[in-house]
Structure formats: structure tokens, C-alpha cells
């Protein structure tokens, strides 16, 4: 087993635990740089992973670290997207300025939602954000000369500093760079007093207050920062989908975003990114499975005779072509995660790591107490 040899407090302030961990992240970054060459047909899906990663960070700050669960984050995504398009295409601002303004505007919206939310806790807050999302969606539909209303609005390709980044690979790198920057900023906040104050509010408001944390201020900050990240994500998202319409930013998208942080593992940045990979790539996997699974089942059935094979193919094919299949699978996975892996993919990852570093002495009970705690925590 490796152990950490700490000789200065500075070591605890680093972004990485030690050189080994840092090298793994460098390797990961190198891998992401060559990935478009390896799997060119998935580059578009991978940019969506990065955009969802931004959304995941945003929601992780609010739900995972500050303990304020929001079901209105699709609305912030929408505000960011429409604002960015308005600033670049209607006002003709440069790309970076437009993104910054979109983030600032979304942050302001976040603070506005956060202010009344200060008096609400738990499920009431969640419902308030849900109401906000519905109102904003209505605004998108009605405010036609800015948003294009129900007819929607086409989005141009991004041009940053005069360099067109509309190509799939260029856009992939743009999203990767923005995500890496956002991860760095968020990690900085989390190792500073602000991040600690957020965690304190999540775990015990009364103790946080007695230690001098201004609850209203830090909750508003969490809302503002979370919304700002969402605004940046929205700007990229607008380019990604190429056409904005109000029904994209529906409550279902909010639920999907929340699913991302729950499945990834609440309370860790890794979790947000794991969740993003999962939520962005699951539809891809489902659509691939749609084509492949009936054929396989058919082949297995064919072992019993040709008629059985054809029947098996038709039945499974009809099943996988059902329109509600995708949300159904999402819901099922969410339920299974809450039941069996409340710490999410990141929790599973920690267990795997521990299993191999302790091998053959790993004991399952190591995580049991936290698991029992987290389960009741969800209900509050």
C-alpha cells in the first residue's frame, strides 16, 4: 500500500493528493486530447458529455455541496442559451463577451430565485424552483422578439476571436477547455472558506450560523454561482443543438440534470462528471441497443427453430421501439441507484479502489454506516 508522506500544510491545499494522482489526471487529459481521432463518430456526443459536465458541476455545487435541491436548472440553461444567442446574434457582441454576459445574467436570475428561497427548506425549495422553471419556459414561448417564441430560433456556429469553431472536433475542444476551466474554478472555491461554508450549511445550518456563516449570503452565492455555470453551459448547449425552442428546456431536462448528480454521487466533483458521462451517453447506448438487441434475441431464438427466432425478434423489436422507453430506463436506473448505491458511481468507484488496495482484506461494512445515513438524508 502507498501512504502519503506529508511534510507541509501546503500539500493539503494542492488540487491533487500526490504526484501519482496528478499524473493520472495528466494522462486523462492526454487521452481526451486524442479521443476525437480514436472515435470520430462519437465526437458530437462527447461534446454533450462536457456540456452536461458543466451542468453537473453547477447542480453539484447547489444540491451536492450546499444541500439545496433545485428542479429548475433547465430554466437557467435556457436563460444562458437564449441570452447568449441574443447577445451574439441580435447585438453582435464578440463570443467571449456574450458568454460572460450570459453567465452574469443567469447568475442574476439565480440570485433572484435564491432570495425567496432563503426562507424555504427541503422539498418546498425544490417546488419553488420547479415553479420558476415553468414560468421561465412560458417566458421563452411568449417573448417572441428575443427568443423567437414557439417557432424557435436558429443558432449560428461559434466564432471565438475570429476563429470559427463550428466544426465537430473544434467544438469538442472548446467544450473541453470550458469544462476544465470550470472544474478548476469550482475546485478552488471548494478548498476555500466559501466551499466550507456551503458544506456547513448542508450539514447543519444552526452550527454554520453560530460559527459566523451568513446563511442568506452563502445560499445566495451558491445559487448565483451555480446559475452562472449553468449560463455558460447554456451558451455551449445552444451551439450544440443549433436551434432553440422553449420545449427543450422542460422540467424533464431538469429532472435529467438532477438524475445526473444523484447517479454520479452527491457531494463530489467526480460524481458530477461521472454522472454527465452517464446521462449524456446513455441515450446513445439505448439507441445502439435498439438496433442490436432484437437481432441478438432473434439469433438466440433461432437456436430453437426459425419460427421461434422470428417471433422473438418481432416481440423484442416492438418492445424497444416503444416511445416511452428512454425515460423509463432513466427512471429505473435512478430507483436502482437510490436503493443499492446511494453514493452513486463515485461511491462505487471508491469501493473498487479500496477493494484493490486492501485486497484480500476488503470488508463490505466499511461503507455501511455512511450508506445508512445517506439514505435517510435523501428524505429530508
Amino acid at each position: 500500500m502507498r501512504f502519503l508522506f506529508k511534510t507541509s500544510y501546503d500539500q493539503d491545499l494542492g488540487l491533487f493528493r500526490d504526484l501519482v494522482q496528478r499524473n493520472w489526471y495528466v494522462a486523462l487529459l492526454a487521452g481526451l486530447l486524442v479521443l476525437p481521432r480514436l472515435v470520430p463518430e462519437y465526437v458530437v456526443d462527447l461534446s454533450l458529455v462536457f456540456i452536461y459536465g458543466l451542468c453537473g458541476l453547477s447542480l453539484m455545487v447547489l444540491a451536492g455541496y450546499t444541500g439545496l435541491v433545485s428542479l429548475g436548472h433547465a430554466a437557467f440553461l435556457g436563460v444562458g442559451a437564449y441570452a447568449h444567442v441574443f447577445f451574439t446574434q441580435t447585438l453582435g457582441l464578440p463570443w467571449l463577451a456574450a458568454v460572460a454576459l450570459a453567465a452574469a445574467l443567469t447568475a442574476a436570475a439565480g440570485v433572484l430565485v435564491g432570495l425567496p428561497a432563503l426562507r424555504m427548506t427541503g422539498v418546498y425549495l425544490t417546488i419553488a424552483t420547479l415553479a420558476f422553471a415553468l414560468i421561465i419556459q412560458e417566458v421563452f414561448a411568449r417573448w417572441e422578439h428575443v427568443t423567437g417564441g414557439l417557432k424557435g430560433r436558429a443558432v449560428d456556429k461559434p466564432v471565438v476571436f475570429g476563429v470559427p469553431l463550428g466544426g465537430d472536433v473544434a467544438f469538442y475542444f472548446l467544450c473541453l477547455a470550458v469544462l476544465a476551466g470550470a472544474v478548476w474554478l469550482t475546485a478552488n472555491l471548494l478548498r476555500s472558506p466559501t466551499g466550507r461554508a456551503w458544506v456547513a450549511i448542508r450539514d447543519s445550518e444552526i452550527a454554520a450560523q453560530s460559527m459566523g456563516v451568513n446563511l442568506a449570503l452563502y445560499k445566495t452565492m451558491a445559487f448565483g454561482y451555480s446559475a452562472a455555470l449553468m449560463g455558460v453551459a447554456g451558451a455551449l448547449f445552444a451551439h450544440k443543438i443549433g436551434f432553440l425552442a422553449p420545449d427543450i428546456f422542460s422540467v424533464l431536462l431538469s429532472i435529467q440534470l438532477l438524475l445526473m448528480v444523484v447517479v454520479g454521487g452527491l457531494g463530489s466533483l467526480h460524481g458530477a462528471l461521472f454522472g454527465a458521462v452517464f446521462v449524456a451517453l446513455l441515450p446513445v447506448a439505448i439507441s445502439q441497443a435498439r438496433d442490436a438487441v432484437p437481432t441478438w434475441i432473434g439469433r438466440i431464438g433461432a437456436l430453437l427453430g426459425k419460427g421461434a427466432g422470428d417471433a422473438a425478434f418481432t416481440v423484442t423489436d416492438r418492445f424497444v421501439k416503444q416511445p416511452g422507453l428512454e425515460p423509463g430506463i432513466f427512471g429505473l436506473i435512478l430507483v436502482l441507484f437510490i436503493l443499492f448505491e446511494p453514493l452513486g458511481i463515485y461511491g462505487r468507484w471508491l469501493k473498487l479502489k479500496l477493494y484493490f488496495s486492501m485486497f484480500p482484506l476488503y470488508k463490505q461494512a466499511t461503507f455501511r454506516r455512511q450508506k445508512a445515513y445517506m439514505r435517510s438524508e435523501r428524505l429530508r
Binding site: 500544510y9 491545499l13 472558506p193 448542508r202 453560530s210 460559527m211 459566523g212 455512511q370
Partner: protein, 253 residues
Amino acid sequence: MSLLVAEGLGINFGGIRALDGVSFAVEPGEVFTIIGPNGAGKTTIFNLISRIYDPHQGRVTFAGEEITRVPPHQIARRGIARTFQNIELFQHATVLQNLLLGRHAHRRTRFAEELLFLPRARRHELAHREAVERVIDFLDLQAHRDSLIANLPYGVRKVVEMGRALCMAPRLLLLDEPSSGLSVEETEDMAFWIQDIRTLLDITVLMVEHDMSLVSAVSDRVLALNYGRAIALGTAREVQEHPDVITAYLGGS
């Protein structure tokens, strides 16, 4: 001049008069203990000082400044730290993070500095860390530095919570039943720590406590409450022998 003065504190919860005109003064450098049967209003006094409740009458003065209407998060900045009867630690954080939060009242960095983690933010973090390490050494918490609170035994959590309050470097420390749930040995350690907090760290202690051996070991003065009224004030022995106190605890005709 007294460090903390409470004058005629009164508060009702519905029809129940939880505190009824309680007055006392805590002198700098003393250990002042409040005792009383269950429901006497001891913790309510703490909650009034840390501004979780608004008093219906009376006022609280700290270091010459009235704090009866100060917002609750400002109390820490004025130098009053507290612990809770039922341990209010941050469960999913490490001991170190909990203690670092105790430094929150000393935060001097701005949001933007933290966002970019500029050298100034790093310097301040290191300074906070050193202050925290001094408390860790003081309370012998070295072995638990990186443990999650959820994995710690009750006795250690109690010490960590006191440590978090000490990290604030307060002028007045409010301890709400520091020995509840502790074993005899742990209570003994607690008594020594309370004494050291007073003499070595120069922090005035206001404490609510039931364990009379701990109370008489460390307290300079004791205030006895019953049904929201002060019934006796004096040294531990004087209060213990006061007839009203005996009646309050044991009943009588």
C-alpha cells in the same frame, strides 16, 4: 467591567414562560456555570446569547456593546463561540474541515480571490491551518485529523465540537453540557481542558452542566435556575447547599 451581562432576560414559548427576568454577569477570565433541572431554561439562555431566539424582554451586553438585536452570524465575529447539547458537527466533512470552519469568522479573503485561488487566498488558508493545528495539538486530535465525523465515536465528536469553537479564538466560549454522554475518564479530560482553556488560552467560559463533580471542579461561580428564574448564585458549594436548589432538584414541601 463584566464581559457578558444579561439583564432581565425573558422569553415565552406559547403559553410557557421559559425565562422570566434572569439577570447575571460573567466576569472576564472566569468559568461561570448555569445549572438547573430539565426545562429550567439553561439552553434557552445560550440560544438567546447566540441570537437563535429573540428575547421578549431584557437585553444582553457583550464587552460593553448591546447584542440583543445583532444578526446571529455576527455573534461569532464579536468573539462568542458555542457548542451544542446534541453535537451539531458537519457530518460528511472531515475533522480538519470542521475545525477550519471554526475559522470562518476570521475569513478575510474575497470571493474572486478564492475563485482563482490567488496567492493571498493560499496564504490565508495556511494561516487558518496553523491556527487549527494549534487547537489539534491542544486537544490531542492528531489521530483523527482526516476522519469523517460520521465515523468517529461520540466522545471524540464532543471534543471536535469544542475544538471547532476554540478555532474561532473566541473571547467567550459557551459550552452546552460538555460532559453529557461522556465516560468518567472523558469527563475528567474535559475538566482539565476547561481549566486550560481558561488559564492557558485566556478564554472566559460560560457553561451549562449537570455533572456536579465537573461543575465543582472547574467553576468559579454557579447560577442555579428553576422554571426560568434564577434561584441561587455563588460558588459551587454555596449553590449546592442552598435550600431552594435542593428543593428544586429533590422536591419538598
